[in-house]
Symmetry: C2
């Protein structure tokens, strides 16, 4: 059974214009957006009955490239360990779809896309988004692919929040909902971390009121700081200790090299994370997408919970015990609300030392739980 | 009994030149520094036997003004709830001393002081400091005041780390050591938070290689971000939830005002903390002092523990259960090491919702514990 990483081989990002100026996307906030182009990938084959589609929703800085590789077999998609022949999202059985989300910067229309009214990038004229807007675009993509109903929707972190919103907006369309390391409502501390990241970006002189794309000088200072700080919250304290401890860079004794720069290995790691982020992510997308998370609070509306209950979706909620970005209390809250409404819900807290990032890894029991849930759903 | 806040009335910061060019401070790293001026305050009266001195060590951004007020009775010192007549550091009984620490920016020589060799502020030519350098200066201040031995040394956070170092360097001089919400060794995560703060400051274009004092344009962007991030770590998640929850600024419904700015109350709080910090603290001091904390690791040297054990100091170690900057595990490690070496050590974890900041507040049992420890020591 070919279960090695990258077993899907070469995969490719497709693009589709799903909304146009004449047929715009009507956002929850009331504004209209068109054209909207969406980048997406698919893996596996859609069954003749069109009943084996599994939709994957990515996290904050993810993209459409979830599995396989784009030419370099050493660099596979971000969820390649989950998606492929014989893997939990088994491409021998499922037709897996993963789009870059609305407001993103990796192929789907976002704040750096050209505003058709001006020909310039939208910048801060891009409309504010809500979680439901992501789902509206995802549903249009399904329509484009000729699929009525999903066998499953699966997502981690912000991806899990999209899955939850989908079950609110169109529960009849989602048979099985897999919500991993997510939240139905950020805490003040969650919001605080994102707020400081946004401030770092917007206060960067190079942010230029969101017009940096035009002068080719993005707010690298703010972006690097935002990413470094975020990375602290993605790893557990335990994982950081195991990975870096108090080890210094190089071999010299501490006293001989003490300075204000990169002395400790953990500093080198954070700097590296900050730098590599600059090449692959956009500052405005970071602002818009984090804000969507801050405002997300679907259970504030009792009717939303009723809609899920009436719709017949079945849930798997997964948390990781060392995740302190969205700790298990966030997942328990989702589970409690769903169960209270009579929604069939499985919950599993997975032991893992790796904090929030665990949803991208393979701690024991995690993939097995998803596989068993989807298998159980099949019966 | 006058226990109201500010019961000390008007207090004043004194200054003393404790080291000169001819009699320089010899730093642990080998460099020499002179002159060194120290700002300090004292409260209460030194006994004729000179045996009632209590030394207070401040935290990262503290200063010499620990109690009383400087003219505005509404603005009292940072530890006024602990210091005063009838309070745990009872100025009717004790002579309390609090200096601004070396490398600081509030009266004591630091990186923005003039370098006698150039006449310009030191900037990044200021030497790297170690915890023991603070103690060397504190001890010279005692000498200046004609005091041989301390009845007690007391400090929270970085202040507690100074107390611990004092007990290593000159245990015979510290009868009772009170170490609150401190650490004997930062974790990778602790270092990571400080590292990102330093990067935010040093990457700010206005940092100007540490020469900002000369052009009068300090790195406000970096400083505000550093402070905002630090404040997240000072409050517990629980306290943030209680204090701000997900409440929005103003009264409008969420949808009508959603933007990228200060929408949530927690964002307003962080912005305010960032702004007020700019007026009162210096960027280079922030860099130098946080670095001292990163490198602090006294128990790495077994001889250090032996010196404490031989010196006869008695310890009280206090932690707060919701403190996640230096959680109780940090305090337990100190306690375990001291007890293993036979040092008389009391330990108390105080219940408090307010996280690391609790050491500045009065959660039930906290002040009582310090008072009882100092009373017990008196018998």
């Amino acid at each position: 059974m070919p279960t090695a990483e990258g077993s899907l081989g070469f995969t490719r990002t497709e693009r589709a214009v799903l909304f146009t100026g004449d047929d715009p996307l009507v956002l929850a906030g009331g504004r209209r957006l068109g054209p909207v182009e969406v980048a997406y990938e698919t893996y596996g084959t859609l069954s003749p009955e069109r009943d084996n589609a599994v939709f994957v929703c990515h996290a904050l800085t993810g993209d459409a490239h979830a599995a396989g590789h784009h030419g370099d077999p050493g660099r596979v998609g971000w969820w390649d360990n989950l998606i492929g022949p014989g893997k939990p999202l088994d491409t021998d059985r499922f037709f897996v779809i993963c789009p870059n989300l609305l407001g993103g910067c990796q192929g789907t229309t976002g704040p750096t896309s050209p505003d058709p009214h001006t020909g310039r990038p939208y910048g801060l004229d891009f409309p504010m988004l809500q979680m439901t807007d992501f789902v509206t675009v995802h549903r249009r993509l399904l329509e484009h692919l000729g699929i009525d109903r999903l066998r499953a929707a699966v997502g981690g972190s912000l991806g899990g929040m999209q899955v939850l919103q989908w079950a609110v907006d169109a529960p009849e369309q989602v048979r099985d909902a897999v919500v991993v390391a997510a939240s139905s409502r950020l805490t003040a501390q969650n919001i605080a971390f994102s707020a400081v990241a946004r401030e770092a970006i917007m206060r960067d002189p190079d942010f230029s009121d969101g017009r940096y794309a035009e002068n080719g000088r993005p707010p690298h200072l703010g972006m690097a700081i935002a990413r470094m700080m975020a990375h602290i919250t993605y790893l557990s304290e335990e994982a950081m200790t195991e990975k870096f401890g108090r080890r210094l860079q190089g071999d010299e004794p501490a006293g001989s090299r003490m300075g204000l720069g990169v002395d400790f290995q953990v500093e080198s790691y954070l700097n590296h994370q900050g730098e590599t982020f600059l090449d692959r992510f956009d500052a405005l997308s970071y602002l818009y997408l984090t804000r969507v998370m801050d405002y997300f609070d679907p259970f504030a509306d009792p009717a939303a919970v009723e809609r899920i209950a009436d719709g017949g979706s079945r849930f798997l909620v997964v948390s990781f015990d060392s995740d302190w970005r969205f700790d298990t209390a966030h997942s328990r809250r989702i589970v409690r609300t769903l169960e209270h409404a009579g929604v069939p819900t499985s919950f599993r807290e997975i032991r893992s030392a790796w904090g929030h990032d665990s949803f991208l890894l393979r701690p024991p029991g995690y993939h097995e739980t998803i596989e068993a849930f989807l298998d159980g759903a099949a019966r």
